[in-house]
Amino acid sequence: MIPGLKDQAKLRVVIAEDTVLLREGLRRVLTDAGLDVAGTAGDAEQLLSQVAAARPDVVLTDIRMPPTQTTEGLQAALEIRRRWPGTAVIVLSQHVETEHLFELLAGDPRGIGYVLKERVADIAQFTDAIRRVAAGESVIDPQVVSRLVARPRRDSPLETLTEREQAVLALMAEGRSNHAIANQLYMSPKTVETHIGNLFAKLGLLPAAEDHRRVLAVLTYLRQ
């Protein structure tokens, strides 16, 4: 089942975060934002049992959790995707590094989010990200993308992109749809498509109709 087909009226969310204060804060914020917090967990094991019990639409998990404080959340997210493929997952990270991101996206990028933890402060944006992954989009933190885009390169076709094209590319990498890009950049969807066609030609990428394939292709290109 593709997450996007789910009725979005009352999204069911499970939160995994080992800091009690933050976990409770998130629960409150999300409940206030009209989401149904179906369960909370303090570690990966609890998370898996909560997901098995509540079968939420979206799982929100910190990467680092007890007992080893390394990548338990990430492993749990991969496990959840394996066992319940329709479940959307947002991983909260404190790293701008992309190693974990690619591990996460490697399977199916639909309904996957990789968001820096501090994003929770902007509640509107954060709930929007939850709704997007629940709708089957990919959400990649803008700061992670902008670091990738801004990397110095030599003799790269990226340098030949216009400013507009670069902006379009970054938004694609964040997992935005053409429609969202058009809205954000105040362009017509037609113009967005033209830009995308041009920059794909410049980068030598094959145009991909589906957004989720596009995200992976663009991110992989940027990471090289």
């Binding site: 404080q69 591990e103 501090e118 929770v120 402060a121 670091r147």
Partner: protein, 574 residues
């Protein structure tokens, strides 16, 4: 020494005098033979002096000298044209063979080994003297073709009897032959039972024994072969000469043994194993059976360098034990014959002591170095662990709190929508919190990259490259996990190198290559910048070299001005 010189001088004067006295040339037909006898006799005297000088503790020198005089004097006396001298000369002509047998049996210590051998030697002297006396009574010089010019035989009874003399000579020859056989058998037994130094020391004796044996067989058996006179008067004296000459030569060579010892120690490379030291000492000492033994660590006996137990308190027969000076643990066990060369043994023991002390000091330094290396590695690892802990504390503590604070501020801002002034205050507080989080994240990453512990070298290097302000490519990096200390070292090498590239190199691009080779990890970072980086300058590179050395690796910086910089760390990696 002067006493020996006097003995030799007396012998030489006597020999020369005898030739002059007898009216030069006395019997011109026999002159070459006469000179030959003189040379043989003198050679025994010289060998006697050599033996005295080489082995002062041995009576070998005395025996050589006695044999030399017993050989020489009768010939001198015979030529003195005096009846008494002539008679004594003829009487004593064969006694030297007993002295030579004595010499052979007492070799090399100058002492006879058993009562039986004493008996054999006494029998040799008695036989030689007895049969000479018995024979001379019947010997008329005229029987030997001597005319009236010959001095008279003062012991002659009547006109003498040729058959009686011949019979006595034949019996005497036979008895002598039997005794010679016994002596030669004993010598061969000595030779066969001798090992190491003693066996080497017997080499000239074996020549002498062979020569005497041959001569005795020819003359004693009184064979009337056409060649017997040639052997008797030509070959036998020459072979006879070989014994003393060989002995003197071996003595000269032995004198260089001290030098050989020095060379052996000098040739011994530093830290040579005890086995090598034993070989060097055995070579220098000329005793292949030399053992270098060490007390076992538990104090229960000694083991030699081949790991065989050695009985030090009750050595095997023919073996002697000497403790190595300055070492409570080491002893030398060698052939008893070497007691004749106490100086050489002392030198050897001293050399062994020096070499062992050298090895001990070297092992000590090595052990200390090993300790220092291990403690350096531990310090670095402890530092790493501490940084990891610090990073984790920051993450679990301050960072989480700041995130929670941000969340609370976000909630507050949403609720303050009615009050724009409060809203903007909260917004700026929120911005501060965000920036604090970013700074804290960078700080934590600098202290220890979590991604290294979490995903290994590949992810961590990728992260470094992503944040490098200079275009950097990764050409190779091992995907699997490596020992934590090696991963951390490789990471810090790349991190420091890329920092330097960004700060100093003025480079357009850089390249990171990490290759796993058998037992090694080679980390290379190169750039196309200005070059001219000096490994000794700047604490960054020096610290990096220390860090690489802490895991037993080596750092090389290749940075010719104008040609970029190549930093290469070679790390041991199982």
């Amino acid at each position: 020494m002067s006493r020996r010189l006097a003995v030799l001088t007396a012998g030489a004067i006597a020999a020369a005098g005898s030739l002059a006295w007898s009216g030069w040339p006395p019997h011109s037909d026999y002159l070459p033979i006469l000179i030959c006898y003189e040379v043989i006799g003198l050679s025994f005297l010289v060998a006697g002096i050599a033996a005295w000088a080489r082995w002062p503790a041995s009576r070998l020198g005395l025996l050589f000298t006695i044999a030399g005089y017993l050989y020489l004097v009768p010939y001198i006396l015979v030529n003195l044209a005096n009846p008494v001298a002539f008679t004594i000369g003829n009487l004593s002509q064969g006694i030297y063979t007993a002295a030579v047998a004595h010499l052979g049996l007492a070799w090399p210590a100058g002492r006879l080994r058993s009562r039986f051998e004493c008996g054999v030697v006494i029998a040799e002297y008695v036989t030689a003297a007895g049969f000479s006396v018995a024979a001379i009574v019947f010997w008329n010089p005229a029987f030997s073709g001597c005319d009236a010019s010959c001095p008279a035989n003062v012991l002659l009874v009547g006109d003498g009897s040729r058959p009686a003399g011949n019979a006595i000579n034949a019996i005497g020859g036979f008895v002598g032959l039997v005794l010679t056989g016994i002596v030669l058998t004993l010598i061969v037994r000595h030779w066969r039972s001798a090992r190491g130094w003693s066996r080497r020391a017997m080499i000239p004796l074996i020549w002498l024994a062979g020569a005497v044996g041959a001569e005795q067989i020819v003359t004693g058996s009184a064979l009337d072969l056409p060649l017997s006179s040639l052997i008797s008067f030509g070959l036998a004296p020459l072979v006879m000469l070989a014994g003393p000459v060989l002995f003197v030569i071996s003595t000269v060579r032995a004198r260089t043994a001290g030098g050989a010892l020095g060379a052996a120690i000098v040739d011994l490379e530093p830290g040579a194993s005890p086995g090598r030291l034993r070989e060097a000492l055995a070579r220098a000492l000329g005793d292949s059976t030399l053992q270098l033994a060490f007390r076992r660590p538990d104090g229960t006996g000694y083991l030699d360098t081949a790991g065989q137990p050695v009985e030090v308190d009750r050595p095997d027969p023919g073996r002697v034990v000497t403790r190595v000076v300055g070492s409570e643990r080491a002893v030398l066990v060698y052939d008893q014959g070497l007691e004749l060369e106490p100086q050489l043994v002392r030198l050897t023991a001293a050399a062994a002591s020096m070499a062992l002390e050298h090895s001990r000091l070297q092992a000590e330094v090595q052990a200390q170095l090993e300790q220092v290396r291990a403690s350096r590695a531990r310090i670095v690892q402890a530092g790493d662990a501490e940084r990891r802990r610090l990073e984790r504390d920051l993450h679990d503590g301050a960072q989480q709190r700041l995130v929670t604070l941000s969340l609370a501020l976000g909630m507050a801002r949403d609720r303050a929508a009615a009050d724009p002034e409060l809203g903007s205050l909260i917004e700026s507080a929120s911005k501060e919190a965000r920036e604090a989080l970013t700074e804290l994240r960078e700080l934590a990453r600098g202290i220890h990259p979590a991604v290294l512990t979490e995903t290994g070298l590949a992810g961590a290097i990728q992260a470094l490259v992503e944040r490098s302000p200079v275009a950097t490519t990764i050409t190779a990096v091992p995907a699997g996990r490596l020992p934590a200390a090696i991963e951390a070292t490789a990471y810090f090498v790349v991190s420091e190198a890329l920092t330097n590239v960004a700060k100093h190199a003025m480079a357009d691009s850089a390249e990171v290559t990490i290759c796993q080779r058998p037992g090694r990890l080679v980390v290379e970072v190169s750039d196309d910048g200005a070059g001219g980086a000096r490994p000794e300058g700047g604490s960054g590179l020096r610290g990096l070299a220390d860090r690489v050395a802490s895991v037993g690796g080596a750092l090389r910086v290749d940075s010719p001005p104008g040609c970029g910089t190549r930093l290469k760390a070679d790390l041991p990696c199982p």
